[in-house]
Every structure is written in structure tokens, then in C-alpha cells.
């Protein structure tokens, strides 16, 4: 019975949405960064599939339907850029130069470390955009022969590090300017870091969310030269 149900696309759809609702609920209750709805949803689905023995390919039938929304979700980030146009105009050069340097260091830093540690090309291309927001990182990884799943895992790892430790980074490196704090957080840990940046202040939050889109666009251009 379960096997027949699991083979329909609705199974993957239902499981995804349910797991995400649960993840949100846990986040609301605990308010803890590591209890990110995405992390919890993915963990729940992996545990559920492992326990029931339902193959991943069955889940993917529904999952693939949701994957089709990856493109449109990236496109509507344009509304975020538009809504921030005033701040973006005011700090145009700091945003552009800061994001350019940050993205370059992230991309080429990952490439250098991968080469140093003998990581193969597919893995390298998947990790390369790890400082970008998931939607853009997946697109960059896939267009350069990387894997979307590994790419999003890398993005999550970088995001969690940034979200948990960015206040510490600010203290250790003595970054006093709120504009620099926000752009730094957004450049290294995208949307996950932005939630933390918003807690630090309004300027930090706005700057961090601008950095997400600007770094994403710059990174996809820089990736062409890899």
C-alpha cells in the first residue's frame, strides 16, 4: 500500500510541504539558528525515507515538480533589488566593489582549496558558489557541471557558519561600520546570514539583503572565467 502511494508524485509533494511546515514550527518554537526550516525539513525527509525504505527516486517524482520553481523563484529576487533601489543608489560603489571583491575571494578561494586538497571537478564546481544564495548557487553549479544537491548543502553550511558566527567575526575583526558589517554578512552567508544581520540593525539587514543579489549576479559572471 505504502509502496503504491509512494510511487505517485503527490507523495513527494505532500512530504516536502509537510516537512517544511514542521520545520517552520520548530523554528518558531526554538528560535535557534540551527533549527532552520530547510535543515529540519531535509533531515525529516531523509530520516523518513530511510526508515520506511522508500527509494529516493520515488520521492523525486514529486520533488522534481517543486524543482521546476527554482527558476521563477530566482527571477522574483528582482523585486528585492527594486525595493532596495534607494539604498543601492546611495551606496552604489561600496556595494559594487565590496561584492565584487568578496565574490572573487569566495569563488577563487574555494577553487584554490579544492585543488590543494585534491577534490575532483564535479565536487569543486558544486562548492564554488557556496557563498551565493541557494537559487543562484544551484544555477551556477549546474551550468558548470556541478551537482545541485551538493551545491545546496555547501550553501547551507556556509550560511549556518555566517548566521551563527557573524557577530563574533564583527568583534574579532573590529568592523565598526554598519554598512560594511551588513555587506560582509550578505556576501559570505547570503539569506541565512541576513536574518542575523537584521537582528544587528536596520542598515545591516538592508545591506546584507542587497549583497545577496549583487553577489549572486557578480558570481555568475565571475564563474565564466573559471
Amino acid at each position: 500500500m505504502l509502496k503504491t502511494l509512494a510511487s505517485t508524485p503527490v507523495f513527494g509533494l505532500t512530504l516536502t510541504v509537510l516537512a517544511f511546515c514542521f520545520g517552520r514550527w520548530v523554528q518558531k518554537k526554538t528560535k535557534f539558528v540551527l533549527c532552520n526550516p530547510l535543515v529540519i525539513a531535509v533531515a525529516c525527509i531523509i530520516i523518513f525515507l530511510s526508515v520506511t525504505g522508500i527509494p529516493y527516486s520515488d520521492f523525486a517524482r514529486g520533488g522534481d515538480i517543486i524543482n521546476m520553481m527554482l527558476g521563477p523563484v530566482t527571477a522574483v529576487l528582482a523585486l528585492n533589488v527594486y525595493n532596495q533601489r534607494r539604498v543601492l543608489g546611495e551606496y552604489f560603489w561600496p556595494v559594487l566593489i565590496g561584492c565584487l571583491v568578496g565574490s572573487a575571494v569566495s569563488l577563487f578561494g574555494v577553487l584554490a582549496l579544492c585543488r590543494l586538497m585534491g577534490v575532483d571537478r564535479m565536487m569543486t564546481m558544486s562548492l564554488m558558489p557556496k557563498s551565493c544564495t541557494s537559487a543562484i548557487a544551484i544555477a551556477i553549479a549546474e551550468s558548470h557541471g556541478g551537482d545541485a544537491g551538493i551545491a545546496s548543502a555547501g550553501v547551507l553550511a556556509a550560511g549556518i557558519v555566517g548566521a551563527v558566527f557573524s557577530p563574533l567575526f564583527i568583534r574579532i575583526f573590529r568592523i565598526k561600520d554598519p554598512v560594511a558589517q551588513g555587506l560582509g554578512i550578505g556576501a559570505c552567508s547570503h539569506a541565512l546570514g541576513t536574518t542575523k544581520a537584521m537582528e544587528l540593525g536596520e542598515v545591516q539587514g538592508a545591506m546584507s539583503s542587497i549583497a545577496i543579489c549583487v553577489c549572486g549576479i557578480i558570481s555568475s559572471v565571475l564563474a565564466l572565467f573559471v
Binding site: V42, G63, G149, A187
Partner: protein, 123 residues
């Protein structure tokens, strides 16, 4: 605008992105082209925020949901990641503070230069 028309507009921009990506001689992601395209359309006021806002805000607020299946596909690739688990973690953890530091420093430097230039222009 009603939700279906908004969807048509957003999907249409994505389709245009795919078309441009297919023509481009380089590997540039179609979704990022769509993002740039929609930003230009909004900035030039060809598309007004109200044309896409209703649907876009729902999508942006629930964005992480879309990444659940992709992230789950990691379980299918785990055999592949396993030998690289240490480099994977090391790279993700180590590069993050470096990117933060370099970006923040660059921004502070640019701001300082701008302020100095502004002060000179005033004098």
C-alpha cells in the same frame, strides 16, 4: 493584476531568460538572466511592482520550501560526498570568515575614500 496574469509575466521573463541563455556562447545560468531582465524591466518602469508583487511576495516569503527537494537529493549523492567530507566542511567553514573580512574591509576602504573625496570637494 490577478495572480494568473502575474504568473504569466514571471514565467514569460524566465522563458526569455532561457532563450537568451541558449543564444549566449557561454554557460550563463538562465535563471540569473531572468533575474537581471526582471530587474531592468522594474527599474525602467516597463513592469510596475504591482504587476508581480502579489505572487512574488508569496514566493519570496516561502522561498526555502523550493530548496527542500534539491537539498534532499544529497542523500542520493552521499556515496559521492563521503570521501570528500572533510574538505567539504573545511572549505565551507574556513572560507566564510575570510569572505566576510575581505568584503567588510573593502567596503570600509571605499567608504573612507569617498568621504575623503567628499571632504576635499567641500573644501
Amino acid at each position: 493584476m490577478n495572480v494568473v496574469a502575474q504568473a504569466a509575466l514571471i514565467f514569460g521573463v524566465c522563458l526569455a531568460g532561457e532563450a537568451i541563455a541558449a543564444i549566449l556562447p557561454v554557460n550563463f545560468p538562465a535563471s540569473v538572466i531572468a533575474l537581471i531582465l526582471l530587474t531592468i524591466l522594474l527599474m525602467t518602469r516597463v513592469v510596475k511592482p504591482r504587476h508581480i508583487e502579489g505572487l512574488s511576495n508569496v514566493m519570496l516569503a516561502n522561498m526555502a520550501l523550493v530548496f527542500v527537494p534539491v537539498c534532499t537529493s544529497v542523500m542520493d549523492k552521499f556515496v559521492y560526498i563521503k570521501p570528500y567530507l572533510l574538505p567539504f566542511l573545511l572549505i565551507c567553514v574556513a572560507t566564510t570568515p575570510v569572505v566576510f573580512l575581505v568584503t567588510a574591509w573593502t567596503v570600509q576602504l571605499v567608504l573612507k575614500l569617498q568621504r575623503r573625496k567628499g571632504a576635499k570637494d567641500h573644501a
